[in-house]
């Protein structure tokens, strides 16, 4: 689901890439309005809590795409750069395309970030393999990697999806 304007064809390509990655259908839902009080740059926690939802099945996962920059989060151990946010093991994730001028050119990078946040929804944790999309998103090499999972993360996500379907 998008909160800003995106080319439907590029969103379609993103959906196809996510379908290939997770093996479950992915479709573009409606555009929803920005909730009030999230500020600029947007507070990812508030945004994901207050944004409108869409009618979905219990095991559906919703990915919100925004163009606005997300505010760095103040955590007990320091300040974390925020490229996305997700409710681990639940149904909502958020990804920003800030810094990507053209979705067509930056589709691989956006797909990788999307796979990362959706992976958290399927109980995947950060991975040690730099080639995997579950690798730390704030490392310099993350944006240039391919939109793939390592074998461990892929097996784990498939297992979780199978359990959810059964």
């Amino acid at each position: 689901m998008t909160l800003d304007d995106y080319d439907p064809k590029q969103i379609e390509k993103l959906c196809r890439a996510l379908y290939t990655a997770f093996g479950v259908g992915c479709e573009q839902a409606t555009r929803v309005p920005w909730p009030t009080g999230v500020g600029d740059p947007a507070d990812a926690r508030k945004l994901i809590e207050h944004v409108d939802s869409v009618r979905a099945y219990a095991d559906d996962k919703i990915l919100y795409l925004v163009h606005k920059r997300l505010k760095d989060r103040e955590l007990p151990s320091g300040t974390a750069p925020t490229h996305g946010y997700s409710l681990y093991g639940k149904d909502r994730a958020l990804v920003t395309t800030h810094g990507v001028k053209n979705l067509e050119e930056g589709l691989k990078r956006v797909t990788r970030h999307s796979m990362h946040q959706l992976g958290h929804l399927w109980d995947l944790y950060h991975c040690l393999d730099p080639r995997c999309s579950m690798y730390l998103p704030w490392t310099p090499s993350f944006a240039s990697g391919d939109a793939i999972f390592c074998s461990f993360c892929r097996d784990k996500s498939e297992q979780k999806i199978r359990l959810a379907k059964s």
Partner: protein, 309 residues
């Protein structure tokens, strides 16, 4: 450890940590009759998926049930993760035992030690599947406990851990085996390294050993070949020239033997398990070189017979 730990008093609503299971919340403490005995059970529900666990109060300490970590304890965990701690043992058996003990009895610090130790080890070489699963499990438990303790989301808890383990803007370092060898240098036995070389995780060690073996085999083969050539020349040539050549070639052969002996002495400290494959390879190389030299000697003999004629 379980015996020395103070008895934990649990009440309804308490949040506790069940080792290897995660954060649970107590919802009932009652007595039940089981096999003719009346026992008091603590019923708790795992917060992650709602699974129910009943534990007799007499077993609470032995299982390792503990209260949720406090803010101070979590701060110490972050400090530990930020520090340059001891490197993991390269012996996979020892490492597995240590990690299992840490997971079951080490508390939240034990979980942090497992996560950090395996992460640092992964900077040396990729983790085998079982250790990757252990790392994932430890990370999961650590994230959920820190999130529950600080009342933050799992996403924030995991990012807080990774901020200290791998600060933003930097790639994770690549480590060498020497850093780990220094950590285990205090151990008397060098078998750990040998066992590691033989284990699945010891892939990085093998190529250099194999290359050294092939080099030794080649040198030994050359030494054998030169000895045989020298002997062949001694039969054909004049006595004085032959003696000189033999002596020089023997001298070269002796020099090469002493080299191989020195190398053999150096490798004597390595475990016996490694000697077998090397000697088998050397023996095979010897045989090959001998066969070749014999064939070569036979070829050399022909011109001499022709010359005689």
């Amino acid at each position: 450890m379980a015996e020395s730990a103070p008895q934990l008093s649990l009440a309804v609503g308490d949040r506790v940590v069940y080792p290897n299971q995660g954060v649970c919340r107590v919802f009932n403490v009652d007595s039940r009759e089981v096999a003719g005995q009346t026992l008091t059970f603590v019923s708790m529900r795992r917060e992650e998926d709602g699974a129910v666990v009943m534990v007799p109060t007499t077993k609470v300490s032995s299982i390792g049930l503990r209260k949720l970590a406090t803010h101070d304890q979590v701060a110490k965990i972050f400090a530990f993760l930020r520090s340059d701690s001891d490197k993991a043992d390269l012996d996979w058996k020892q490492r597995a035992r240590t990690n299992i003990d840490r997971m079951t009895q080490g508390g939240i610090l034990g979980l942090a030690e497992v996560v950090k130790g395996l992460q640092v080890l992964s900077e040396l070489r990729p983790l085998p599947t079982k250790e990757r699963e252990l790392y994932d499990n430890a990370r999961h438990l650590l994230v959920s406990e820190i999130a529950a303790s600080l009342s933050i989301s799992d996403c924030d808890a995991e990012d807080a851990i990774d901020l200290v383990l791998s600060p933003p803007g930097r790639e994770r370092p690549k480590r060498t085996a020497e850093e780990f060898k220094q950590a285990s240098a205090s151990d008397e036995e060098g078998i750990e390294l040998g066992a590691d070389i033989l284990s699945l995780g010891g892939d990085l060690e093998l190529p250099s050993d194999e290359e050294a073996e092939t080099e030794e085999a080649a040198e030994a083969a050359e030494a054998d070949g030169e000895e045989e050539e020298a002997a062949g020349k001694g039969r054909r040539a004049k006595a004085g020239a032959e003696a000189k050549k033999a002596s020089t070639s023997d001298g070269r052969a002796v020099a090469r033997h002493s080299k191989s002996r020195r190398k053999g002495a150096a490798e004597g400290s390595k475990p016996k398990a490694e000697a077998k494959p090397r000697s088998a390879k050397l023996a095979a190389a010897h045989q090959d070189s001998k066969a070749k030299r014999k064939a070569g000697g036979a070829k050399l003999a022909k011109p001499s017979t022709r010359k005689k004629k």
